[in-house]
């Protein structure tokens, strides 16, 4: 999880591009630092990037905290660009965080500032429209549909 003060509205919105192949990975990036290790800076985003990255490998844990992670790679060039927090650990959840679960390594992506509709000023997160939450995960019910 990432945090650097508790309000994020003043943060700039970045376009995240894959450093290797210039593919746009996300239009809603935020530069942040890692909560569990504030020396590490990275980019994060709130919504799952669709059509630009996909999971590779299996889940793992790092030594710094108990968050369950899985790497993501750019769909165009196949290089690892970051990771997704599958299951955040309690300490991270309880601390002040920006709520983003998708992280990108700063050495794998380039962050370019986005401009607001005026075309002059940089777009801030406070002005970014919220997207609707995706529908509840129905995996629980679908498993139980065919058993009796």
């Amino acid at each position: 999880m990432s945090s650097s003060g508790c309000t994020f509205a003043e943060r700039r919105v970045s376009v995240l591009c894959c450093r290797f192949c210039r593919q746009v990975l996300s239009w809603r990036g935020m530069q942040a630092v890692l909560l569990a290790d504030t020396d590490t800076d990275l980019y994060s985003t709130d919504i799952p990037p669709s059509g630009t990255v996909d999971f590779i490998g299996s889940c793992y844990f790092t030594e710094i905290c108990r968050c369950k992670l899985k790497n993501i790679a750019c769909l165009k060039c196949g290089n690892v660009v970051g990771y997704h927090v599958i299951c955040p650990c309690k300490p991270c959840l309880l601390s002040c965080n920006n709520g983003h679960l998708w992280m990108f390594h700063s050495q794998a992506v380039l962050g370019i500032n986005r401009l607001d509709p005026s075309g002059v000023n940089v777009l801030l997160w406070g002005n970014l429209p919220d997207l609707e939450e995706s529908t509840e995960d129905t995996s629980c019910t679908s498993e139980e549909e065919y058993i009796r």
């Binding site: 376009v15 590779i56 060039c77 196949g78 370019i112 401009l115 995996s139 058993i147 009796r148």
Partner: protein, 800 residues
């Protein structure tokens, strides 16, 4: 034909090549030097547009790109050929500097594992692009080591050269990712002194194949002179001498008797044995209608249910059934079906009252045939009761001879065993007195933290229960790692224990929204996992029909696993799924074969009552197998009717899988020969033909095969078109009686029409009333439509 083998000890060396053609390539990689320059620039950039412009201007030549795979630079992620997409067909064609015998291919890789590595690919080669031979089918490991593969470079021990090599990527290590090839090296012999003779031989070989095709064509079309002329000139044999003999006797001379003798000899000599062993089973379903005892008001057989459990005691031929869900509530009744008596007996109306388990569904049972004991573990609780009822995983054992239940454990989790699970699998190892259970979803209370992202479903691992010591041991935890001994837990899978080779076979299943189609075995004695198929390669080992509610059984003697498909979990696919599919896995050959598939014809022909032929597709049913008598039994389940979601089934079926025997094959061949003979006779001497049909051909007809019988009778009907002499009346009448007795009622319509037609004509010729035929009645038409018999028509007018 003598072939030049090339000098022994010709050395293999690196072959020079260039990139000739490609399906697509991804040109967006920036080589590291360019990348550094761009990085410096963009860090000062504040506009995405500026960034784009800069990128666009960063040119790199095509030449540079094309050389990528010729150089091995594992530290440069851009030093590769990459496809633009993974949509087939994708390929890369390399042109060798000179024709060469390509003996091996080496793939270089990136310095780290990379998802674009080729998990599966094929290599083709040839002297020109239009005619390429399959040289290799394989895959790369997802690591950073070079891998070398031997390419096929010989035909019948003779080396052949290639000028072009085509690499076709089929799968990358991430299914949604593109294909990348980092470096390719080809090794072989390109010394002209060696290659030229091989080239000459290869040309001759291709010519020979072309001649054989011509010979075949000439013979099929009866260009005898051309055939003989070509054969004489080239002295090339077309086929095995016995086939030539058969062709001579049957096609040229029309000597049917000699032909039959030849076939009979071939069958007895075992020439058809391999064919027979590869023949598919034919399924024969039969609905079991048990005897009912005189009622005292209560049911004499189990009521409708899904999610129940069945086990079979093959020694006494008894099927035991316990519990389930009837659409409204869990059940606790316990039944036994005796195959010999064809009768159900209720052992207990409520096992809870007899110190046994409470009412439950989605539990699992297994039977120890030696000691005559049945075990049950697990059950399902829907979310409304998960907080109120105990989540302890109780474990019970039933002793058949003493008719008593015993609680082995109040909570197996507390004993080191699994937590309360449902939709798991359980198998009995009678020999070592052990029970194995794997998978299933763990039931948990609905927590107060309703963050669904945080509470992922948990699946239970592989456990062993030592029945002697009554202790549990965790053998494998649920693991998403891809290590050689790691296994992923799941629900809805199949697990079977092979008592002879002492392995558990596990395949299929579901994990949240993902359908798994891997297949692995676990050797219980050596504690070793062997992955039979990881579910990605589309080879013969791949598990079919994933996403269906499969039920499987095992035959340790025949080394076969039988799988009934059930219903598709994809509701949209249900419309197509009107029939079951039945698959057999041959353990030794590691191959799946389909006994029968969903039949589209059934959909087009709704008049055909499938319900009589086989059980409707369903889920939550039970299938058990008697390996001694080679019979399957199926009971109940949920037909998945969205209009009546509470409906469950209570039907009981048996299934026998039949494979054709030598005798069957011989009979069928004779039938084909005689049928053709009859057809020829019918054109020249109809009377004699009819006699032939009724005697010689009739004996070869398989009356249990509706297709064959119908065919014969249609012919019979046609034959009756000619005015017949009175003495044939008796024969026809007898024929009618005989056929009527033995046929499926749907076929009777055809019989009656054919014979009616004949009789009608007969009647006409002997002067009796034309209404004779009609008096026979038309009882047989299954679809209720009336028959039209029209004497003016040449062939029977079958209304259906």
């Amino acid at each position: 034909m003598a072939a030049a083998a090339g000098p022994a000890g010709a050395e293999s060396r690196v072959l020079g090549y260039s990139l000739h053609r490609w399906s697509s390539f991804s040109s967006t990689y920036l080589p590291e030097e360019q990348n550094q320059k761009l990085l410096l620039f963009t860090e000062r950039s504040t506009s995405y547009l500026t960034f784009l412009v800069v990128c666009f201007c960063t040119c790199f030549s095509l030449n540079f790109l094309l050389r990528n795979i010729l150089v091995d630079r594992p530290n440069d992620q851009s030093s590769r050929w990459s496809s633009e997409s993974n949509y087939p067909p994708q390929y890369l064609i390399l042109k060798l500097e000179r024709p060469a015998i390509v003996q091996s291919i080496t793939f270089g890789k990136y310095e780290k594992t990379h998802v674009c590595n080729l998990k599966k690919f094929k290599v083709f080669g040839g002297m020109n692009e239009e005619n390429m031979t399959d040289l290799l089918s394989s895959g790369l490991k997802n690591d950073y080591n070079k891998e070398t593969f031997t390419l096929k470079h010989k035909i019948d021990e003779q080396m052949f050269p290639c000028r072009f090599i085509k690499i076709v990527p089929l799968l990358s290590w991430g299914p949604s990712f593109n294909f990348s090839i980092w470096y390719v090296e080809l090794n072989g012999i390109d010394d002209p002194d060696v290659v030229q003779p091989c080239l000459n031989w290869y040309s001759k070989y291709r010519e020979q194949e072309a001649i054989r095709l011509c010979l075949k064509h000439f013979r099929q079309h009866n260009y005898t002179e051309a055939f003989e002329s070509l054969q004489k000139k080239t002295r090339i044999a077309l086929e095995h001498p016995m086939l030539t003999d058969l062709h001579d006797k049957l096609v040229l001379k029309g000597d049917f008797d000699a032909c039959e003798e030849l076939i009979e000899k071939a069958v007895n000599d075992g020439l058809f044995n391999q064919y027979i062993s590869q023949q598919e089973y034919k399924p024969r379903w039969g609905q079991i209608i048990p005897k009912s005892t005189k009622g005292d008001g209560e049911d004499s057989r189990p009521g409708m249910r899904g999610g129940h459990q069945m086990v079979i005691d093959v020694q006494t031929e008894t099927v035991y059934l316990f519990g389930g869900w009837d659409g409204t509530q869990d059940l606790a009744d316990f039944w036994a079906y005796s195959v010999k008596e064809n009768q159900w007996t209720c052992i207990s109306r409520d096992t809870e009252k007899e110190s046994g388990p409470s009412a439950r569904s989605c539990h699992k049972m297994c039977i120890d045939i030696q000691r005559r004991q049945i075990y049950t573990l697990g059950r399902y609780l829907d979310s409304s009761v998960r907080n109120s009822k105990s989540l302890k995983s109780d474990f019970y054992r039933y002793d058949i001879d003493t008719n008593t239940w015993m609680l082995l454990s109040e909570d197996t989790a507390a004993d080191g065993g699994p937590k309360l699970v449902f939709d798991h699998q359980m198998c009995m190892d009678s020999e070592k007195h052990m029970i194995y259970t794997f998978g299933g979803r763990i039931l948990t209370c609905n927590g107060s933290v309703d963050d669904s992202r945080a509470s992922e479903p948990q699946f239970s691992g592989l456990f062993a229960f030592d029945c002697q010591c009554q202790t549990w041991k965790l053998l494998r935890e649920d693991s998403c790692n891809a290590g050689p001994e790691d296994i992923q837990s799941r629900i809805g899978h199949c697990m079977l224990f092979h008592s002879k080779n002492r392995c558990l076979y596990v395949f299929g299943g579901q994990r949240s929204k993902t359908y798994l189609n891997d297949f692995f075995s676990y050797d219980v004695d050596s504690d070793h996992v062997d992955i039979i198929s990881d579910g990605t390669k589309k080879d013969s080992g791949m598990v079919p029909m994933t996403g269906f509610t499969q039920r499987a059984t095992i035959d340790p003697e025949l080394n076969e696993i039988h799988v009934l498909s059930g219903l598709s979990k994809d509701k949209e696919k249900r419309e197509e799924n009107v029939r079951n599919s039945f698959w057999i896995y041959d353990i030794v050959r590691n191959s799946w074969s389909c006994v029968y598939k969903n039949d589209q014809a059934a959909k087009e022909n709704p008049g055909k009552s499938l319900q009589e032929e086989e059980p409707c597709p369903r889920f939550a049913h039970q299938l058990v197998y008697d390996e001694l008598h080679k019979v399957h039994y199926l009971f109940g389940g949920n037909p998945g009717k969205s209009c009546s979601p509470k409906m469950r089934l209570d039907d009981f079926w048996s299934l026998k899988l039949c494979r054709p025997s030598k005798e069957y094959l011989l009979r069928h061949c004779k039938y084909l020969i005689r049928k053709h003979r009859f057809e020829e006779k019918a054109q020249t001497d109809p009377l004699s033909a009819l006699k032939y049909l009724q005697n010689d051909l009739y004996v070869t007809v398989d009356h249990s095969d509706p297709e064959e019988t119908k065919e014969v009778l249609l012919h019979e009907g046609v034959q009756r078109n000619d005015p017949a002499v009175p003495q044939l009346t008796i024969e026809v009448h007898l024929l009618l009686l005989h056929f009527r007795g033995g046929l499926h009622h749907l076929q009777r319509g055809v019989v009656v029409v054919a014979v009616l037609h004949g009789l009608h004509l007969l009647a006409k010729s002997s002067g009796t009333a034309a209404g004779t035929g009609a008096n026979l009645g038309a009882p047989g038409c299954g679809n209720g439509q009336s028959l039209q018999v029209d004497a003016t028509l040449k062939s029977p007018n079958i209304a259906s």
